[in-house]
Subunit: 216 residues, 2 copies
DNA sequence: CGCATAACCTATCAGTGATAACTTATCACT
DNA sequence: AGTGATAAGTTATCACTGATAGGTTATGCG
């Protein structure tokens, strides 16, 4: 916002990657403050302490930068989910926790989530967006699917195509996250209650009713 | 896109509202073609046959124009849903059809849907957006809730707070619509299959298992 | 006719993402 | 130490964006 003429000293020869990371960090911080659309290249550059065109030495376009921010957030998400469940077996509760992790991720990093799943893909620069965001999304989706496969192997899921089931559950999760992000001022019921009930519904839709852990 | 210097003749004294409607129609058509973000005020003005600043005699800002486009789409949605179910009683099938109408609306008018539920609300002009979009959204939500109330009055729903149930179902619907809109290139399973299975899941989550019309 | 004003125009603004062309610091190597 | 290749970053500028100021013109009423 303010001019902030403080210039960061030039990076040594091989260390351009550090500047690149500084840019990503600054962008994420600004996005968290004011949203993706409200942040310009000049603001990012000023926050880092370099000139605006210098950004283009590290990223081909603003869109590429946003994609990179989002991709880093995806790494976070996958790491979080992986760390949490690897030790656990495939149970209804562990499934609920995985879903909960997904929802919390979206609510804690709404701008990354927005770039990943809610933003309009620009008409120009048609490759960069799809290549990286879609790839990151596919990896996260793959993790999720593998989790559901383990449930299926344990005989806990309803019959049906696993990809179909996974996509339906994912859509259900995404709906809640994205609505809470996009319309925070809507008169929602108490958030925890809503999330809990929604997750129960999704779990009921996925898992067989075998007396394992009925919630009612 | 092209210059299109064809100017539309000036409207008579009291008929500024016609021009306003022409602008809305042109904007909707352009949005349907190239997406909301990719259309500039100059393009809209050129399509209508007026100068770009003339838009601001009819709308306070571009955002206000987009909001108006979306509000018109909402009127469509409500009319569609109202026309379809008023004659029917509260049954599982009529509920499924209402949900299906919602999904079809989003898929047929993705840009209106995007403005309504997926767009970041701009930091500036903080009133116009919320006032109109939120109001339109609340009305549509109210319709949906009333439908569910009728199901509850007929003793078909699971126990629990109706607002909570409605918001959860709505989130479930929105998730599928918005993901299909935002990520059309994702390797989805066959669309009809996905929609059908998703709706069954949502219906199961809302309606009691009374042997009324079990789908399995 | 006169004239108030709705409807619309031209000119221009600050701000945007992006590119071209230039400068400068750093490092490997003699 | 000096030289040259080049990574890192600069200034100047582009076309375009949404938006505003202020003037112009056609319309319909009295």
């Amino acid at each position: 916002m303010l001019a902030s003429a403080v210039r960061s000293p030039r990076k040594p020869r091989g260390h351009g990657g550090e500047r690149r990371q500084e840019i990503l960090d600054a962008a994420l911080a600004l996005y968290a403050e004011r949203g993706v659309q409200g942040v310009s290249t000049r603001e990012i550059a000023a926050a880092v302490g370099i000139s605006q065109p210098a950004l283009y030495g590290h990223f081909r376009s603003l869109n590429a930068l946003q994609v990179e921010v989002c991709a880093q957030a995806f790494v976070d998400l996958r790491r979080r989910q992986a760390a949490q469940v690897d030790a656990e077996g495939p149970t209804r509760d562990s499934f609920l926790r995985a879903c909960r992790t997904y929802i919390d991720f979206g609510l804690e990093q709404p701008d990354a989530y927005r770039v990943a799943f809610m933003l309009e893909k620009p008409a120009a620069d048609p490759d960069a967006h799809e290549d990286k965001v879609l790839a990151a999304g596919l990896e996260a989706f793959g993790d999720f699917r593998r989790r559901i496969e383990r449930l299926a192997a344990a005989g806990l899921t309803r019959p049906g195509d696993l990809t179909l089931l996974t996509q339906s559950i994912w859509a259900g999760l995404h709906g809640l996250v994205s609505l809470l992000i996009a319309r925070p001022d809507f008169p929602w019921v108490e958030r925890e209650t809503l999330i809990a009930r929604h997750l129960e519904m999704l779990a009921d839709g996925l898992l067989s009713d075998g007396g394992l852990s009925p919630h009612r």
